[in-house]
């Protein structure tokens, strides 16, 4: 490892501009003639639109246009789609209701976009938006999944009878039922995974610019995957062919999944720019973010885990209902299916698994991937059930897990996944040691003397990252391949640009990707630039989500680097009159092994471009591209242990310690990995103790539409985390990377809830476990 190579704790290159206010976000973009948009949104959860009158708005000062869904439809703009086809178990395709970027006849959630108003200033647009008169006829609303499936529930889409989008299953129903029938013990649980709002620091924003002279569109947007945005807007929304549409995602201030999807605003602003003749910028305010960013989680599940007389798991049966909100967002169908139920085997040998998943429409914001996306839901279900089973069986939670661990690899689960490598006992041991698990009962007794309730809980998570082998996801219904591309451009003076389809919005790619290049060629990371986020610069790419940028994005870079290296060695061999096989790259030089002959890297690059003395027939230049399609998912795993102390008088829970022992495969920059784990755990603790999105059941209004009511984790809610890794390299990709971006959010909620329920002696506790809920659960346990 060099000081800037793989494994080095290099400070993030990009942070200088971020912490000095030099970041360039979508809202910082200005083009000549640009105007400002405000969306008129539905104040109702469910209503028919009886009329829209924009005349008064159009007459307001500074107003350029006020456009409706009818006009949008007339121009042929397509409905928003879900790009992952799921078939119900009866073979029928999922029932996708129409989602017009601007509602035409009906609104289906509070915040549904109805009219776009464009004016010289945002204030003028806001004033004019208030002058738009929309006549609504209110309908009854339904916000939760159980009510939505009832026979008398309000119906959202004519395409989806009974609000049911699909009724899907995975695994072996018969084998699982047989396991349950012969079980010595069955642990049953009712599990609710609470709905969350993503809350990226930068609100969504977009700037649509139609250039009439070129008949060309440019879309600046807060996207995690600008190429996917272009593909979808070209292929499905009829904005423009791909060669006429450039999508730029500049600096993006966090996404957590919520900026994967194509939202109505991008589509409408592009269309409106052509329609009105001006570039149109829209920036969400925080309340719009709460109302319209795709939410996360929101599952209700019934679980039965069957054990034999020796406490081996013999079967797992799961019945889940998932809320997809008012419309199917871009990847919404994949989250509660292939990103969820395929992880229900956890870290365990479970011979028979069956999961049934129903997804439903409700009058709430669309629900899609949010940090972890399905895997937190699976982990919470499995790990709360394991801890509960240990209590019921009267055995140590650690021992019960250990005896059921998968220890032989590769391991084929009954739910598609083939785990390639791991050492779950190593993580468990590391976490138990770091947390002094053995000494807990003494600490519990000491706390009791002080009138406090102590508890400890663990969670042994596994996730599937490195998303994903294209053929595999294609066979499961994905509308896209999930490879990645890279281009490595060595300049004539030896500096390097790496163009990648991965997108950095907080992950530190500008540093870690440069570290990889440094490792290979010895070029200082300051001489390596990472270029991303622009469809005109980067050939193609699938973007950043599912902890895929290291495992997939960097693998593509490795392939391109391999090609560059091969050509560079040919040139070096030619220049030094040596055999190509004897050339090695060390410390920024190409050397003939075993001699003192060297060519510095920059000189080699110059030789490639002067082309005065290249091997016969070789093309000048030093630039290579590559596509990488993974052969398998990767499987990060780990053990998290949480210890809490609770004040029984108030129900206030203090996290005394939080230990994370992860297996991420090989690590490029440990500091950045720790930062990812810290952030993930903060979000996981947020889900477990603080965050919850609530809709009023009657009115369908989002009650938690601001930070006055939605509890974001703050520094004083969190302890100092003790993080460590014990890594088994991933055999499936050239760098041995598994991925680390989501682990913290996936692994931590069950550890927290297992700790709290251990402390209070009541397992009936919902997330977020607020002081009120904990206090109530303590009192319920007394009676």
């Amino acid at each position: 490892m060099g000081i800037e190579g793989i494994g080095a704790r290099v400070a993030r290159k990009e942070d200088k501009r971020f912490i000095t206010g030099g970041g360039r976000y979508t809202d910082d973009m200005v083009v000549p003639g640009m105007k400002h948009a405000v969306f008129v949104r539905s104040p109702h959860a469910h209503a028919d639109i009886k009329g829209i009158d924009v005349a008064a708005a159009k007459a307001m000062p500074g107003v350029i246009a006020a456009l409706t869904g009818k006009e949008l439809k007339a121009d042929g703009v397509g409905n928003l789609i879900c790009g992952w086809m799921i078939h119900s178990k009866d073979g029928t395709p999922m029932k996708m209701g129409a989602w017009s970027p601007l509602a035409v006849d009906r609104v289906r959630y509070v915040g549904d976009a109805v009219v776009i108003v464009i004016a010289d200033t945002k204030a003028q647009a806001r004033d004019a938006a208030e002058a738009v008169e929309v006549t609504y006829e209110e309908l009854k609303a339904v916000t939760d999944v159980v009510s939505a499936l009832k026979s008398d529930a309000p119906q959202l889409h004519p395409e989806a009878d009974g609000n049911l989008i699909f009724d899907w299953e995975i695994g072996d129903s018969k084998a699982t039922d047989e396991a349950l029938a012969k079980a010595a013990h069955i642990t049953k649980m009712h599990i609710i995974n609470n709905r969350l709002v993503p809350n990226a620091m930068e609100p969504r924003a977009t700037l649509g610019h139609y250039d009439k002279a070129e008949d060309h569109y440019t879309c600046w947007t807060t996207s995690q995957n600008p190429h996917v945005a272009r593909l979808v807007m070209s292929a499905f929304y009829n904005i423009a062919p791909e060669n006429k549409l450039r999508v730029i995602a500049p600096d993006v201030g966090g996404g957590f999944g919520s900026k994967i999807f194509i939202y109505p605003e991008e589509v409408v602003c592009l269309w409106a720019s052509k329609k009105s003749g001006v570039p149109v910028k829209w920036v969400a305010d925080r309340t719009e973010s709460f109302l319209t960013d795709a939410h996360g989680r929101d599952h209700v599940s019934e679980v039965q885990m069957a054990f034999d007389k020796d406490n081996h798991i013999i079967g797992l049966k799961v019945d889940t209902i998932a809320n997809l909100g008012a419309y199917m967002s871009l990847f919404s169908s994949s989250v509660p299916t292939y990103l969820y139920a395929t992880l229900l085997s956890g870290q365990y040998n479970i011979p028979a698994i069956h999961a049934n998943v129903r997804t439903v429409y409700t009058n709430t914001a669309p629900v899609d991937a949010y940090r972890g996306a399905g895997r937190p839901e699976a982990t919470y279900l499995v790990e709360r059930t394991m801890e509960t089973a240990a209590r019921e069986l009267g055995v140590s939670p650690a021992d019960l897990r250990r005896q059921n661990f998968v220890t032989q690899f590769p391991h084929q689960t009954p739910v598609i996944m083939a785990y390639d490598a791991g050492d779950y006992a190593a993580s468990l041991d590391a976490a138990m040691k770091a947390s002094d698990y053995a000494g807990f009962e003494e600490r519990r007794a000491a706390a009791k003397k002080n009138g406090k309730l102590r508890g400890i809980g663990m969670s042994n998570y596994i996730e599937a990252c490195g998303i994903a082998p294209s053929a595999a996801v294609g066979s499961l219904g994905a509308g896209v391949g999930l490879w990645e591309s890279a281009e490595v451009r060595v300049n004539a003076v030896g500096t390097i640009e790496v163009l990648t389809g991965s997108h950095s919005h907080g992950q530190g790619h500008e540093t870690t990707f440069a570290q990889l290049v440094n490792q290979r060629f010895g070029v200082p990371i300051d001489s390596v630039s990472i270029v991303h986020g622009d469809t005109d610069k980067v050939q193609m790419g699938m973007g950043t989500y599912g902890s895929r940028s290291g495992a997939v994005g960097m693998s593509a870079i490795v392939k391109a680097l391999d090609k560059v290296e091969s050509k560079a060695k040919k040139i070096a061999a030619h220049l030094m009159e040596a055999d190509e096989g004897d050339i090695v790259i060390e410390n920024g030089e190409l050397k003939v092994a075993g001699t003192d002959k060297t060519v510095p890297w920059f000189q080699l690059a110059l030789a490639a471009y002067t082309a005065h003395n290249l091997p016969a027939g070789m093309e000048p230049g030093l630039k290579e591209t590559a596509f990488y399609d993974p052969s398998n998912f990767t499987f990060p795993a780990g053990c998290y242990i949480c210890e809490v102390e609770i004040d029984p008088g108030t129900g206030v829970t203090e996290i005394i310690q939080f230990v994370a022992a992860d297996d991420f495969g090989n690590i490029i920059n440990p500091m950045i990995v720790e930062g990812q784990v810290h952030g993930g755990i903060a979000q996981g603790i947020g889900q477990a103790m603080l965050e919850g999105a609530y809709y009023d059941a009657e009115s369908g209004q989002l009650i938690t539409a601001s930070y006055m009511d939605y509890t974001m984790p703050r520094a004083d809610d969190l302890p100092s985390f003790q993080v460590s890794t014990s890594n088994t390299p991933c055999p499936g990709n050239p760098l041995g990377i598994k991925g680390c971006g989501e682990a913290g959010a996936i692994g931590s909620p069950p550890a927290v809830i297992n700790a709290i329920t251990d402390a209070i002696g009541n397992n009936d506790l919902l997330m977020p476990a607020t002081p009120q809920r904990v206090w109530a659960a303590i009192n319920a346990a007394k009676h």
């Binding site: 204030a123 806001r126 004033d127 309340t287 008088g649 108030t650 129900g651 603080l690 609530y694 009650i703 938690t704 930070y707 006055m708 009511d709 939605y710 509890t711 974001m712 607020t770 002081p771 009120q772 206090w775 109530a776």
Partner: protein, 265 residues
């Protein structure tokens, strides 16, 4: 925010005069009014800034008599040595309002006039039998806070100061709303020659109120243990997603205990 005319008043009389025009509102720290305007929930035609009026800021302590001018910031209240010497409960309370930004902008007069049911000062004023001084009259705290965001102030009437006699012993403890960090229950206990008074903020469905159950228990013995087994009724307490009336009732007793513990420490 809609457009608004901003006036910087030089005197109380000028401010009062300006208040008669249009739909004007007094602006002190603006910690509630400005966010409400930004979200277009409030739309005054004119703002009259009171924070530059001579004599409207500052704390005077004379013996046990305390006068805090209306535009004194929470930070200045929290850092007043003279006030801490006679009433540390008040400086302690001010030091835990909002965050540093809020404490440097927000003022006691603004907070009292707004009477947010989750504000801290109303509990202190009621428990200490304070007097709210306006440009027209003096109003006893017990009569001043009349409901949620409602006070005895008449149109255009301006608070100029708050005054009270420092109690022998006092303490304040609050339980914060997990999201907003406003008081979900805040209890101010004060013991003086006139007896024990206990006022609760954040919990009552019509704003700050005195708890007779706790007052009578503490009148017998001003100690935390005097509240063992004491309960307060929940029927006039607020309930929301963060705290049911029953939970708030429990917190009233727990916070009262902790406030007494502070007071006697």
């Amino acid at each position: 925010m809609y457009s608004v005319n901003y006036h910087r008043a030089k005197s109380v009389s000028e401010a009062a005069k300006l208040a008669g025009e249009g739909d004007a509102k007094y602006l002190s720290g603006g910690m509630t009014l400005i966010p409400a305007m930004k979200t277009r929930l409030a739309a005054p035609s004119d703002l009259i800034d009171l924070t530059h009026i001579d004599g409207l800021s500052g704390i005077t302590v004379s013996g046990k008599s305390v006068t805090i001018a209306a535009a004194t910031t929470h930070f200045d209240v929290s850092k007043s040595d003279a006030l801490r010497a006679v009433c540390p409960a008040m400086t302690d309370l001010a030091s835990h309002i909002g965050d540093p930004h809020v404490r440097h902008r927000g003022t006691i007069g603004g907070s009292v006039a707004n009477n947010d049911p989750a504000a801290d000062y109303p509990a202190a004023l009621v428990a200490m039998d304070a007097t709210v001084v306006t440009d027209r009259r003096e109003i006893a705290a017990a009569d001043f806070f009349t409901g949620l965001f409602e006070t005895a102030l008449e149109d255009g009437e301006m608070i100029t100061a708050v005054k009270f006699t420092a109690p022998e012993q006092a303490g304040y403890e609050k339980f914060r709303n997990p999201a907003s960090r406003y008081a979900m229950v805040g209890v101010f206990v004060a013991k003086s020659g006139g007896g024990v008074k206990v006022a609760v903020t954040g919990a009552g469905d019509s704003g700050v109120f005195r708890s007779s159950e706790i007052e009578s228990a503490l009148s017998n013995s001003f100690s935390p243990s005097a509240l063992d087994g004491v309960t307060v009724p929940s029927d006039s307490l607020m309930g929301d997603m963060h705290a049911s009336p029953e939970y708030r009732a429990n917190l009233v007793v727990v916070m009262a205990k902790r406030a007494v513990a502070k007071a006697v420490a």
